[in-house]
Amino acid sequence: MGWRQSLQGADVPMGRTIYLNEPLRNAFCENSISTAKYSMWSFLPRYLYLQFSKTANAFFLFITILQQIPDVSPTGKYTTLVPLLVILVISGIKEIVEDYKRHMADKLVNSKNTIVLRQNAWQMILWKEVNVGDIVKATNGQFLPADMVLISSSEPQATCFVATSNLDGETNLKIRQALSETATMKTEKQLSNLSGKIKCEEPNFHFNSFAGTLYLNEKSPISIGPDQVLLRGTQLKNTEWILGIVVYTGFETKFMQNAVKSPLKRSKVEKVTNMQILVLFLLLLVMSLVSCVGAIYWKDRYRAEPWYIGKSDYDYHSFGFDLLVFIILYHNLIPISLLVTLEIVKYIQALFINWDEDMHFKGSNVYAMARTSNLNEELGQVEYLFSDKTGTLTCNVMTFKKCSIAGITYGDLSSKSDDGAKGLSQSPCFISDAYEFNDPALLQNFENDHPTKEYIKEFLTLLCVCHTVVPEREGNNISYQASSPDEAALVKGAKKLGFVFTTRMPNSVTIEAMGEELTFEILNVLEFSSNRKRMSIIVRTPEGRLRLYCKGADSVIYERLSENSLFVEETLVHLENFAKEGLRTLCVAYIDLTEIEYEQWLVMYKKAITVVKDRMKTLEDCYDSIEKKFLLLGATAIEDRLQARVPETITSLLKANIKIWVLTGDKQETAINIAYSCKLLSGQMPRIQLNANSLEATQQVISQNCQDLGALLGKENDLALIIDGKTLKYALHVEVRKCFLNLALSCRTVLCCRLSPLQKAEIVDVVKKQVKAITLAIGDGANDVGMIQTAHVGVGISGNEGMLATNNSDYAIAQFSYLEKLLLVHGAWNYFRVTKCILYCFYKNVVLYIIELWFAIVNGFSGQIIFERWCISLYNVIFTSLPPFTLGIFERCCSQESLLRYPQLYRISQTGDIFNIKVLWIQCINAIVHSFILFWLPAKMLEHDMVLQSGYTTDYLFLGNFIYTYVVVTVCLKAGLETMSWNKFTHFAIWGSIMIWLGFFAVYSSLWPTVPVAPEMTGQGSMALVCPHFWLGFFIVPIVCLIQNVAWKSIRNTCHRTLLEEVREMESSGVQVLRRDSVQSFKVEEVNLQRSSSPRPCQVIFRNNSVDLGAPHGYAFSQVERAVISQEELVRSYDTTKNKPQKTFSSATLE
């Protein structure tokens, strides 16, 4: 889409001007979008161009053109053209079907409804009818139809919240605020009278930049920045309604400008296949050259040509001419139907993925979706898995799970909750209550005057007061809106325990503590920042005392505890326990302030907020000066809930020798927590943490670690590497990169935190190039798009977050756990299927067409064909077209259950040993041997042309038809031999193909002269089918060919059993366990696969301080930082006791 923009840009270099309420002057692009590849008119030229840019198709086109030269073609003029057309038509139909779907999807989007101001009244129109300059009204929960500038909103200070996860993958809501000049314009009348213009920059793809100026009549120009802009694809949240002026529409919206077409990915198998086609092409050239030399030799033997051939006027037998003849003669070595067969096969494989009920998420009725079918077999070869965290491993739902108050931990119902978890594990993201904090002991202690009662009260009060959450009351229900999910979880948790946060007013909050209403005056909000790792709030309690409540990381709180603080040790132990379970912990503490202290501080504070330079720093120093001598209350533990079956899936993938890297934009602490909870990290695993501020430091720490590892470097160790985005930037520098990768690839688990989307893509790219293994990236947000596009296979989680990741992915699934089935079952199966299908296609073509070479030896290298010309071209299209399909669609190495039960089986496809150039050569040699047998046995059988009972003599085509029949039988049986799973379709394909040929043979031999084709076939069928030699050969020739294959296969299956054979035997015998289970199977597999190096316990002695051997503490907290308006301003702008003004407004609009 870039070119559209640049064209536009060239026309109007000054940017665009949008005139308010003057629709005729705003002529810009339409808001309807089209993602389709073709239109009605562009289809044919574009389609043909795409098809013939494929080498194989171009090759066949070239052959077709060659065949038009008179006297060159041994096979007639149209025998390549017709199959080529058939194939083009088939893939054309597929293209049309796919494009039709895109057209329908576009139509769906384009015909969504929205409300705009037209002729001074609100009108409901379709998205595609929205124009630049329109004033759009959007209500809560709606997606915005175009990029627009916010005029006003229902919220105080004309703010609104938008979910931008569709665009950038960030989960916290973004605040947008209208210009104060327009904030009051809310009625139709005001809006209709609006006149003036907006000048703004040309459309571009930067989400976070916008430069414009608003010229309202009779007012000075006002600049508009990104804080006023609402983008298409974002969703309005927590805001009753907003009004906005459309500035960019359709393809010019930032969303569409970013929606680049995912790059065309080609699978490894496809690349190998192309190599193999090249090999075959070389073989073709070699054969042609050999034949040309043969022709020269033959001519030489006779000096001149024998008299019976007849002299011709011009010299036929120039070398170049012969070469063309032979290239046409042998060109079918390159399987013409391979590409279209693969396309259809992969399309159906993709449908199987789409249809799979095991990957159907019933919670939102989402099925898995293969958005491309190119990479089906690549799924079976994944070695490195790069996973996003938020929304991928986790649900992005926070729940207050446990706490430790005054040295007593609550909510630790591990045994019980585990049972519950199993039962509900199918869809935990959608269940709320069962998972939340639930420990009656806490309330009992509180009610029964337990010695710690006061602490409990203080603890819960803190949770209710110390936050920036806004309550929203609807009837008796209170819902909380927070830009920090942690705070929301805590407030909700407190509510469940009887401490309900009910009202927020600009200067106070009101809570109901066990039914008792308490109002706290909020004096100051000491904001959170990731530097400070804590937030505090200074309140005046209902009793009139000054108190500072603080919650934050254990490290910062513990530093600031007063000596009088109790339960310090116990709480620390609890923190470690929480952290080991992967819970996010916060310490909470408070301090009572004296009036004097506070007054003094306030002076400082007021000074600090007026500082212009380095205000953040000054403020933080100022906050720091009062946050001291804390008294510890306890700790909270929040569960960042994992998606269903994540730990199990990860364990299983690890068993399948897939290395898992977590790449997250989130904080280091959070990432570590999640790694623990999904069993990527275990308690004893040493963690190498790389955090450095400079290139030198990075280099130094990396080489230090490499040295410590010594000989273990390059092997898989039971280590975890944790690195943050800044350090990674240095680590990926050219001179450090190699060292870093060596270190990273020696660790079992790698966590990369605080990565920008670009870095995610970069690291995938680096690993992809370094290890030459197949990589898979999985993510759900827009920030994962880069890595999804970079990795060999990109998987998008189609969850609650936007569709951007999904739309750029190759496969979309609803849950991380479906990856297990996608890789271990579909991936492995598809790999087997596709590779077998390809090898078989090569095999069958080589078998048939090498026979022409054997025949050339006895016909003086003249280029004569031994088969009827149409039979040659129909070979691939009809007679042997079905077995590749059944191999490609129905082949199964073993059952789904076994593949899931023994993830080790994945290594067979992962290593790719069953498909490479060597395998192709073996297959080719096998095919050449078969073709040798298939030509010479029948040739010897018919040596004296006297095989008919009535003494008639036979001709060359009689032999040709014998051979052709035996080829079809052999090739079909060979497919049967390759097939590990015979279902009804397989039977039909194998026996059916033979029957189809025999039927065709009989019919085709009796067409001439009624139908003017194949005069030379006349009578062949009736003679051959009653000839005893035909049937005697029918049995022996294919058996001679295949006897070696059968023998070889049975010997290998007997002597050299792999895990796969064990499993297959187990399946067919119906026994549920391997005869030599667990230990033995491991042994077998070690012996056979040679690749597995099971992680051994790490015995390295680290001599540097970057390695953390201790237990983690689990601090994590997320909160918006540096927003348009500060957290303090935000909380102070709410008064939840008042009704919002929009109520009247919105009801008015409905009339």
Binding site: I309, V858, D955
Partner: protein, 353 residues
């Protein structure tokens, strides 16, 4: 942005064994224990069949004589010498004498065999017009280009039948004489020259052009015979059902052979006293020696052969069956060894555990 996965839910097909890839299937697992009996059974069956075929083929009698006329190989060498380097070779005849000590079991077929003759050469093989041969008048006048250089005669007339195959029609002829008593007279053995072509060739593929005024000659008016022919196509035989394009010698010749050594059926001997075969006695074959084969180092032979259910004598198939049968048995033994060794190994492993 909304071609979402959720929208697809409605289009899901039924949840069947096919869509869930759970179709019942047979999972063969080839191993020595399974293929072992198969190899033995197949081997025995093949050997049995092979023996049958071998003896069946051996029961077929064949009598061949190379009459190319290499110097010192009989009286055809005179003709061969005479024809050397001359085109067209002069008419010449020679004879082959042989005697049968016992009855040559019938029905007896007479074949000629050419060697080193590449009927399967591409340029030779395509040099024909099947439309012309199927009697299409338009093709008669306008032979296809593939026939060149035997498409039009020097005078510009279309050649009928056109092409190199027709031009090189085998034109030696044979007659068989039987001497019943020693020194008795030779009696001509009737050779049946009809019924030597495939039924479809004679009735479907080859048709004379429509007669003009009841005359075949007029139908071919305005065409020239191939340059090597001495007479026009409609005079190939006096028998109206065996002349023109449907002359059976011609039809047989037009079916081009697969290999450079090939046989063509010349006649069947099935009339009169000879329906049971050739009785014992002395025989003479009179050969009209026309066809030049020495130019391309070829040979020509005459073959008398009887025909069984499997055609002519060719022990190859029987031998092939015997060999394959033995091979199966051999592989069977290899399987047996593998099977036994594997069993031992397996037991050892189980003992280890």
């Amino acid at each position: 942005m909304t071609w979402s996965a959720t929208a697809r839910g409605a289009h899901q097909p039924d949840n069947t064994a096919f869509t869930q890839q759970r179709l019942p299937a047979w999972h063969p697992l080839l191993s020595a224990s399974i293929t072992l009996p198969l190899f033995f059974c197949a081997g025995l069956a093949f050997i049995g069949l092979g023996l049958g075929l071998y003896y069946s083929s051996n029961g077929i009698k064949e009598l061949a004589y190379d009459y190319t006329g290499d110097s010192g190989t009989g009286n055809c060498s005179v003709c061969a010498m005479a024809g050397q380097g001359r085109a067209p070779p002069p008419p010449c005849s020679c004879a082959w004498y042989f005697s049968l000590p016992e009855l040559f079991q019938g029905p007896v077929y007479l074949y000629y065999e050419l060697t080193n003759f590449y009927q399967n050469n591409r340029r030779y093989g395509v040099s024909r017009d099947d439309s012309q041969l199927s009697g299409l008048p338009s093709s008669l006048r306008h032979p296809v280009n593939e026939c060149a250089p035997y498409q039009y005669s020097a005078a510009g007339l279309p050649i009928a039948p056109c092409g190199a195959i027709a031009n090189s029609l085998f034109n030696d002829s044979f007659s068989l004489w039987h001497q019943r008593q020693p020194n008795g007279p030779y009696v001509e053995v009737p050779l049946d020259r009809t019924g030597i072509a495939w039924w479809t060739d004679y009735h479907v593929k080859f048709r004379n052009p429509p007669l003009v005024n009841g005359s075949l000659a007029l139908a071919f008016q305005g065409t020239a015979p191939p340059p090597n022919w001495h007479r026009p196509v409609y005079e190939l035989s006096p028998d109206p059902n065996n002349t023109g394009f449907i002359n059976q010698d011609f039809v047989v010749w037009m079916r081009t052979a697969a290999l450079p050594t090939f046989r063509k059926l010349y006649a069947r001997i099935r009339q009169g006293n000879y329906s049971a075969g050739l009785p014992r006695g002395a025989y003479r074959v009179n050969i009209t020696y026309n066809y030049p084969v020495r130019a391309f180092n070829g040979h020509k032979s005459l073959i008398f052969s009887s025909i069984s259910w499997m055609g002519g004598k060719n022990p190859f198939l029987g031998i092939a069956y015997l060999l394959v049968g033995s091979l199966c048995i051999l592989v069977g033994f290899v399987m047996l060894v593998v099977y036994i060794r594997y069993q031992d190994q397996n037991d050892d492993e189980e003992d280890d555990e």
